[in-house]
Subunit: 193 residues, 2 copies
């Protein structure tokens, strides 16, 4: 999606260790007009797929998923990272290591809100090693629901998660696919942009 | 807002200790159509107020704030609860105790994204003792920006945060204001509904 790729070039910054910082428009400050355009692009890509639920993980996926749910006309479910006093004990849960925070989280969704007849689109802001996405896929499949596909804002393809999951047969639509990036700021997209 | 009050009556459940669980439609599963209607109501209430930024706090405020930013046509900034490797060290930060999690969080926003000329609408899902809202107000004022007002989905008025902040002169528009609720499920709204 050229709009997103151009925005990454314009406002993204590369930090040592393969970190792409996009907190100007995606995961701290959020450009809500851009979110809407991204949601519309996933709607175009997944048209006629009978998606009835959007699944994401807190925190930075929630804005993107909420806009996507609005455009698809369906509810959003966000997986939570730690047990709170507010959530039912009756949950599906998996362990997910965090690339950014160097920790392992227990990630859960309530069994009340994910069912065997659900056709799920999984939304997240980043795909790198795929740890979070594998966790969300596992939660969906624990419920017996169908992973119709995944919608990712920015995939760092060179970190391997996307290629691995596509090889397993999952449909992953990443709106910006980064093939390589260098510490001095050069970004090469799979689109050739 | 009758739509929200009716939904609380229909789908909310009361847990011991004054906890109102609305994770069916607001803070685990999200009804995105309802989010949109709520955002439109704040737009109506704050029309002509020249709001140019929406501020919220992760995680459950983000969906609501993103939809509100979309309806207002302005960016959203969400305060983060812990230092990540991705965020600039140049932040405004305050300490915020969490009623739900019984912990104290350091809450921060990057100085890059909050400025003295910003006119801010603060959005959150709940207002109880007001700890989170006071933190977001403090962050806004640390930046020298103007708190035009606050938009709250559900205010538990009897926990005192709303009355205290209104007495200090802040405009707080809560779409459902709960005057009292009992452990056996009776909810009385300020609207009389």
């Amino acid at each position: 999606m050229k709009l997103l790729e151009d925005r990454i070039i314009q406002d993204g910054t590369i930090k040592p260790g393969g970190v792409l910082k996009v907190d100007n428009f995606l995961n701290h400050q959020i450009d809500t007009g851009l979110l809407y355009e991204m949601a519309c692009e996933w709607k175009r890509l997944y048209v006629n797929c009978n998606i009835n639920k959007i699944l994401t993980i807190e925190a930075s996926g929630i804005g993107l998923a909420s806009m996507t749910g609005y455009v698809f006309g369906c509810p959003v479910l966000f997986a939570k990272k730690s047990k709170t006093v507010n959530i039912s004990p009756d949950v599906y849960s998996v362990e997910v290591p965090s690339f950014t925070h160097k920790t392992v989280n227990t990630v859960m969704v309530s069994r009340e809100y994910l069912h065997a007849d659900d056709r799920v689109l999984i939304i997240d802001d980043f795909l790198a090693t795929g740890a979070a996405l594998k966790g969300l896929i596992a939660l969906t499949e624990l419920a017996g629901a169908t992973v119709v596909g995944c919608g990712i804002a920015i995939e760092k393809e060179f970190q391997g998660g996307g290629p691995e999951l596509r090889a397993q047969g999952y449909r992953i639509e990443s709106l910006a696919r980064i093939q390589s990036m260098t510490d001095d700021g050069k970004i090469l997209f799979a689109s050739g942009n």
